[in-house]
Symmetry: C2
Subunit: 216 residues, 2 copies
């Protein structure tokens, strides 16, 4: 017969996967909203962020219940504590997508705009989030490594974006100035999403190995 | 004889005031670090953020203890729940000062720079944080109003900063481009600090009046 703790760990995995999916969807929606200046889409992102906050609370309650009722030890205990840390990072990811949405809502865009670099950055950050949660569910150390390495690429994209946006402003400050200033903040939020995904990957490594690597 | 709950509420007020002070000091230090490109000062801000995270946990524990042991009702209950909300906003303020510090650390500044507007914005945001906590301790509804009004001024400063930084880049992209891109993010963080102080003020109003105003 399976332990009650194992069933609860399965439930925890499902909730974490779901939270990770919500984050990924929020990142995609926020990027689309930004691309098209779509305010109603942006408002949906903010609603998704509230859902992410709610599922964080659900996972927190489940973890507390597991800790109190089952008093897990060793790897089980590490898995629960890693989950508690991971949801903090995922909740911040939700906040950052909501920050991007806020920029879309407060902007006054009349034309859609080509945002190849930023879209790629959003895709890369979204993939990091997805992979970090998959690494937790499958307890996959090679996948955590991939996430941590991918962060360098996202950081590089951020620097590139910054340079491009400076060129943009220098070319025509009246036309591009305000928009470029908004976009650099969006790029910064995406870069932070990459940092949070890296944190998640590091917590997954801890849950598997028991060794905690210094985060960023 | 005073109720045990009143003594605990006093303790809660002291801790909240202390947390508010730590936030204010962090904002000041982060601004100074930014002004002088002072990396060691910036690292102190990040340490202060860890202290803020710790005191958040202390206040959370105290609130939980009060809720479980004393089962407060009406205004007492509102005060405890408002405190729980306020510390989330203060913790985010700490994060934002740490984000500013991170920018200072990752920058490569060789010269100090005149940042009149940004310094004023930091002062205004810091004052909002201080006043919002003072309003809680003194249960002062006129002070919460002042905080909420001050946020419009901080928002206005943010827009001004954005315009100035665009001019900066347009003037000499090679010399000012990268720095200006960093500074707009700092301005954004300060603007968010203003939002969090506004949230705190709104929670204080709720704790006094029982009416919750829509936050931003």
């Amino acid at each position: 017969m399976r332990r009650r703790l194992d069933m609860q760990l399965d439930e925890l995995n499902e909730l974490l996967t779901h939270m990770g999916e919500l984050c990924q969807v929020a990142i995609n929606k926020a990027t689309k909203a930004l691309k098209n200046g779509d305010v109603s889409q942006a408002k949906k992102v903010q609603k998704a962020d509230m859902k992410i906050d709610q599922i964080e609370k659900d996972i927190e309650s489940l973890c507390m219940k597991m800790l109190l009722e089952q008093q897990p030890v060793a790897r089980d205990l590490r898995q629960v504590s890693a989950a508690l840390k991971m949801i903090t990072d995922m909740e911040r990811i939700g906040d950052q997508t909501s920050d991007i949405a806020e920029i879309v809502i407060s902007e006054n865009i009349t034309e859609s705009m080509e945002l190849v670099e930023l879209t790629q950055m959003a895709e890369a950050a979204g993939k990091m989030v997805k992979d970090s949660v998959r690494a937790y569910v499958n307890q996959d150390l090679s996948l955590t490594r991939k996430v941590i390495e991918a962060d360098d690429e996202v950081d590089r994209m951020f620097v590139e974006n910054k340079k491009e946006l400076v060129e943009y402003i220098a070319k025509d400050k009246g036309k591009h100035g305000e928009r470029a200033m908004d976009l650099i903040m969006v790029a910064k939020y995406l870069e932070r999403i990459g940092d949070h995904a890296t944190n998640i990957a590091e917590w997954v490594e801890y849950s598997i190995t028991g060794i905690r690597i210094e985060g960023n």
